[in-house]
């Protein structure tokens, strides 16, 4: 599933933040938090003007991994995938690994420029 791979390249927190930045998408997420609901049911409940807009938000939530889609005949059903954000350890490990890599680059740069001044 290439879409899933694209979504998981972001950190879980980044993908989730993007997905829930929109109040309509937060409303959809709450709707399907505990219960699987059909696309039609979701469209009838959310304060969205048009079906294409609802459909686009469902796709974005799905791509970010926050909800899963099940197809049955011509119907589509959605529910929240609460595992999508992953355990806290994974989020923190990514954060520290990325940031300590930056610290290394900066400290090494400073060490080189100090050495050059002294030479």
């Amino acid at each position: 599933m290439p879409r899933m791979q694209a979504a998981t390249r972001n950190t879980p927190i980044e993908a989730a933040m993007n997905a829930i930045a929109n109040p309509r998408r937060r409303q959809i997420l709450r709707l399907v938090w505990d219960t699987e609901r059909s696309a039609g049911e979701i469209a009838a409940t959310v304060d969205e003007v048009s079906w294409p807009a609802v459909s686009q938000n469902l796709r974005l939530l799905k791509d970010s991994g926050l909800i899963t889609e099940r197809r049955e005949g011509t119907h589509r059903y959605y529910r929240a995938d609460r595992r999508a954000l992953g355990p806290l350890e994974a989020v923190l490990r990514q954060m520290w690994t990325r940031d300590l890599g930056r610290l290394r680059d900066l400290a090494e740069q400073e060490a080189r420029s100090r050495k050059n001044r002294h030479d």
């Binding site: 997420l29 954000l85 806290l88 350890e89 520290w96 400290a107 400073e110």
Partner: protein, 139 residues
């Protein structure tokens, strides 16, 4: 090198710079903000507090417990407003070891919620993100 401990993260990083330079990046606000977050206020002395604006939305904060330049730093760590990891709930320990002109930095993040709390935590995490996103929308 990353290894998993129970309720802990351990990361080791070799840096081709002296421990004095690396320690300055951990404790000096101006240097610190260049590698972590978008804003930081650090009062790096025992009992002093810090506040890091991680990404314009999440605020990490805590207090320094041990400051032993240029070797060791221990601080409490948490996200403000977070349901399961609030400030004071976890501990970050950073040790610096001199090695042939370079520094071996070891970071341990201890006291994280365990396996049993994972489900609760994940729910809390989504709620937390939702609250933050809602708060962001008001500005």
């Amino acid at each position: 090198m990353i290894e998993d401990l129970t309720g802990a993260i351990e990361i080791t990083q070799r840096i081709e710079a002296s421990p004095e330079i690396v320690f300055a990046y951990l404790t000096d606000s101006q240097r610190f903000v260049r590698w972590m977050g978008v804003g930081a206020e650090l009062d790096a002395r025992p009992g002093g507090r810090y506040r890091i604006d991680v990404d314009g939305v999440h605020i990490a904060s805590g207090a320094y417990e041990i400051i032993d330049p240029p070797r060791r730093l221990v601080m409490s760590w948490g996200w403000e407003g977070h349901p399961t990891v609030p400030p004071g709930s976890t501990t970050v320990e950073i040790t610096l070891t001199s090695d042939r002109g370079a520094t071996v930095l070891k970071l341990r993040h201890l006291g994280l919620p365990g396996e049993g709390e994972r489900r609760t935590h994940t729910e809390g995490w989504v709620q937390y993100l939702s609250q933050l996103a809602a708060a962001g929308g008001r500005h």
